[in-house]
């Protein structure tokens, strides 16, 4: 996969499959600490400690369609190649938390990618789940942290039985997410982009 945002989409799908009702997805671009971190936290059915330790092995999966699961191993390898790590904490009946870190400036770090598409895709496809999306940036120059938080619960409460795929509703949600993500991204780019004369 070419983007961190695609990996996060993939990991969030695991949370959906684990019957989570609440899923939190966070991304932080910390330019002061030179770190890009992300997490996916769910209240799904969870895994035993043995299973949580072994899902990083491609030949361990809970799926039944095939005997290999590549999502987590690929993400872990990508993180470790960039002085980072991937950690899974899980408890049966409580949920699972996945944390991943990359050295932000590492030459091999894949781009964050299209985070707003990942958020929109997850929300539209699984509106019955309460999503909490958080994207923040800590600029290198010590300016204030910029943060976009999107809790889908108030939106669903307002919409009632109106589907998210009604064109006007879809436009509203898409623009809302894109505005928020762009605002944070601009804050993180402003101080890290090399200025060519």
């Amino acid at each position: 996969m070419r983007e961190i945002a695609l990996h996060l989409l993939d990991i969030a799908e695991n949370s959906v499959t684990a019957n989570a009702k609440n899923i939190t997805l966070t991304v932080c671009e910390d330019l002061q600490g030179d770190q890009l971190s992300a997490s996916v936290i769910d209240d799904g059915k969870g895994m035993s400690a043995e299973m949580a330790a072994s899902v990083v092995d491609p030949f361990v999966t809970s799926r039944t369609t095939r005997k290999v699961g590549l999502g987590i191993p690929l993400f872990k390898t990508a993180a470790e190649a960039c002085n980072g790590k991937l950690v899974i904490n899980s408890e049966i009946g409580k949920g699972t938390r996945l944390d991943v870190e990359f050295q932000h400036s590492h030459i091999d770090r894949m781009p964050l990618g299209d985070l707003s598409s990942t958020m929109l895709t997850l929300f539209v496809a699984y509106p019955q789940i309460r999503w909490l999306f958080e994207y923040s940036a800590i600029p290198a120059d010590g300016k204030m942290e910029e943060k976009f938080v999107f809790d889908t619960q108030p939106v669903m409460a307002e919409l009632g039985d109106m589907p998210l795929t009604e064109p006007a509703v879809l436009s509203f949600i898409r623009e809302y997410i894109e505005d928020g993500v762009t605002r944070v991204r601009d804050a993180s780019n402003g101080s890290s982009t090399i200025q060519y004369q």
Binding site: E13, T17, S117, T121, T165
Partner: protein
């Protein structure tokens, strides 16, 4: 630069959409499903999904539900998109890039004509 959106705006958007829906006749529910296992995502399923949503927005297609599913075991055909219209049998399309997705949206979902080229053999 768009103004910051609020829940008040959403309320208005909802009411307007509700009005539009009343005008529409009640056709059979249309469901479009994009497979989004690791295999689907790696093959470009998110871009396919985005193209479907873009088509809904730009052509003002009302009454379509878009959802996702996991890996269905036909990874070499990803991205896979299936369309079910009312009681008609579900049609499963394979190797659907954004361009093909837009064609499916226009011809199958909007015009009601099943496309034969990309159907995944059962």
């Amino acid at each position: 630069m768009p103004a910051i959106k609020s829940l008040e705006d959403l309320k208005r958007v909802r009411e307007e959409a509700l009005e539009k829906r009343k005008v529409k006749t009640t056709e059979g529910a249309i469901q479009v499903t994009v497979a989004m296992g690791t295999c689907g995502i790696a093959a470009g399923a998110r871009d396919t999904m985005k193209a479907i949503l873009d088509h809904i927005e730009s052509n003002n297609v009302s009454g379509v539900i878009v959802t996702q599913t996991g890996c269905i075991g036909k990874c070499d055909y990803e991205p896979i998109v299936s369309v079910s219209v009312g009681a008609e049998p579900k049609v499963v399309y394979g190797r659907i890039n954004p361009e093909r997705a837009r064609k499916i949206m226009q011809e199958h979902v909007v015009d009601g004509k099943v496309l034969t080229d990309w159907i995944v053999p059962a």
